[in-house]
């Protein structure tokens, strides 16, 4: 948690503005227990993780950071339009992102890292922001991965940018339990070029196995090729599996875990425009992903007809 390299290009003026915004967040958070209305924060640092994947660092109050649970999400809004102004037409929109990383700075400052992959207009515009630009956040919203206890064994399976909540789950578990927990991870990517977060995961997990769809890094195939070995390997204590990634991958992973009697959870992603149970467009089965998720129980998800399909109908059009 001493990840300060991202502050290299931050001026003292920007840090002062960031302190003022963090204080604003802190007051809001103390009053409500959450940030209900979007509050803009200056971006203090940007890490390029891979082509088209960037981590945006913003400062938040310690209270918010310490109560955040891995898997929960923030609605992240880039208030600029595609021309860099703030005109009405072609506004970038607001989408849900879970926290990928946390960092402690000097003077007790706390930072959240949102890792964004360019997958469309909104996420693409976010990856083009610069240090000093605004990123507005509200939240945290939704459910989280359950806590682990002494002697537990965690099996983590991520696909693509699903790495981010999985990394937070591993990081938070390691920080809480030290070596009293065993963490084995499998990270799947399309190819070597888009791989990211590998060294971060290696720093907090006991083992990390990589798979790529094209074999350019790690083993050739999907993350499920390594899962039977992990499931069958002897371990003491209770095993729990957390997964985040494309739904067909999560479905395959959950089926293997549940067959083996392992308690499992998936962090879901759906078209989620409002986050407050109003629009009704993020449903899985009879649940709303925005408030009943994003983290849902594996056995429940496997019972839903609309879980596990490669493409979800986005909005009404």
């Amino acid at each position: 948690m001493n990840d300060q390299a991202f502050l290299e290009n931050t001026t003292s003026e920007l840090l002062a503005l960031s302190d003022a915004c963090s204080l604003r967040l802190s007051n809001c958070y103390a009053e409500r227990g959450m940030i209900a209305s979007p509050i803009p924060l200056p971006i203090l640092g940007i890490d390029t993780e891979a082509p088209g994947i960037a981590t945006l660092w913003v400062q938040v109050p310690k209270s918010l950071a310490s109560e955040y649970r891995p898997g929960q999400y923030f609605m992240c809004w880039n208030p600029y339009d595609s021309a860099g102004g703030m005109n009405r037409s072609h506004f970038s929109s607001e989408k849900p992102y879970s926290v990928g990383n946390m960092g402690l700075g000097t003077d007790g400052r706390v930072f959240l890292g949102f890792t964004v992959k360019d997958l469309g207009i909104q996420s693409g515009e976010l990856t083009k922001l610069s240090i000093g630009d605004w990123l507005a956040i509200r939240g945290p919203f939704g459910t989280s991965f359950p806590d682990s206890s002494d002697g537990d064994r965690m099996i983590l399976v991520s696909g693509g940018i699903g790495s981010t909540p999985i990394h937070m789950a591993a990081l938070s578990c390691r920080n809480a339990l030290g070596d009293r927990v065993r963490i084995d991870a499998i990270m799947g990517f399309r190819n070597s070029e888009e791989s990211h977060y590998v060294s971060r995961m290696e720093a907090v997990c006991d083992t990390v196995q990589i798979t790529t769809d094209d074999g350019t890094l790690g083993s050739h195939g999907f993350p499920t090729i390594h899962l039977p070995n992990l499931i069958e390997s002897p371990h003491r204590g209770r095993a729990k599996l957390f997964t985040c990634g494309p739904e067909p991958m999560m479905k395959a992973v959950l089926m293997m875990a549940i067959d083996a009697g392992i308690e499992s959870y998936a962090a879901m992603e759906r078209y989620l425009p409002c986050s407050v149970a109003v629009c009704g467009l993020c449903m899985v089965g009879d649940r709303l992903t925005c408030i009943d998720g994003p983290v849902m129980e594996g056995d429940w998800l496997l019972g839903q007809d609309d879980f596990g399909k490669p493409h979800i109908a986005h909005s009404h059009t």
């Binding site: 915004c21 604003r24 409500r32 209900a36 209305s37 979007p38 509050i39 803009p40 609605m75 809004w77 208030p79 703030m86 009405r88 506004f91 970038s92 929109s93 607001e94 989408k95 605004w134 507005a136 509200r138 425009p273 409002c274 986050s275 407050v276 149970a277 109003v278 629009c279 009704g280 467009l281 449903m283 089965g285 009879d286 709303l288 408030i291 909005s315 009404h316 059009t317």
Partner: protein
Amino acid sequence: MPDISVNVPGLEMENPLMLASGIQGGTAASLHRVSASQSGGLVSKSIGPNPRAMYPGPVCVEALDSVILNAMGLPNPGVEAFSEIIANEDFSKPILVSVFGSNADEYADVATKLVSAGAKSIELNLSCPHSKPGSRALIIGQQPELIYDVVSTVRDAVDVPLYSKLSPNTTNIVSEARAALEAGSDGLSLINTVSAIEVDPFAGRPIIGNLLCGMSGPAIRPIAQRKIAEVSLAMRREEIPTAPLLGMGGICTGLDVARFLMLGASAVQIGSALVWGDVGQFGKIVNELTEFMVLNDYSDISSMQGIALDSLEGLS
């Protein structure tokens, strides 16, 4: 136990609480979800001629305590897809289907298709801009002559009960109520959201993607109550035709429901309250209303209806 059932044209309900339009009501799955709660009835999202996507976000935020701001942009699956839902899904509660268009013929066309598919009652969302040149600055609901045009055209096209949903953003809501009722509306729904804007001083711009937005939540409840009182009083004085009122605007508790009923509403709709408690709000509010009625010896909904208007009789 008091009888809290309500029977108004097209809506025979076990209790007076309906889901308000625009909340979770655009897909079969979400309507079934609300139907499984203790709501007495449902109102769909406003259905238009074609599928429409959501505006860019933020689309809905809790800007202050008790203040919800939204600009969704009338997202809906379009009349063809929603007619399939009406024709094929069996909801356990009566459903009032909300309709919008950009002119009278579009409203009538959408309503006709929905009624052919099985819709038993229609709510006309009049808070939409009109496509007529020169009238873009105002919504239909701010122009009594356009309200009359839309409602009478739909009235001629379908024979199910019609409820006209009025905007509070007018000079004298009785004028809009009169236009809707004289055009053949069977009832009124009031109020729609209050027009609003909120600016973030750090970003130097409005916090809603669409910039302009509508305000709802408990902060607008007294405004809604005033509008309902004005329309109810006009009905009592026979200045406008008498018709049932569906009241909405910030209702969160059983006592709020009683307030609306006492000002003349026959039933109410719940929207923003779901932000703070999802569909569980319906059961909570039903219990609160029932307890209140037992405590005050009200035997049914009609025994409370309009009693607060008596004290307003003398107002000129």
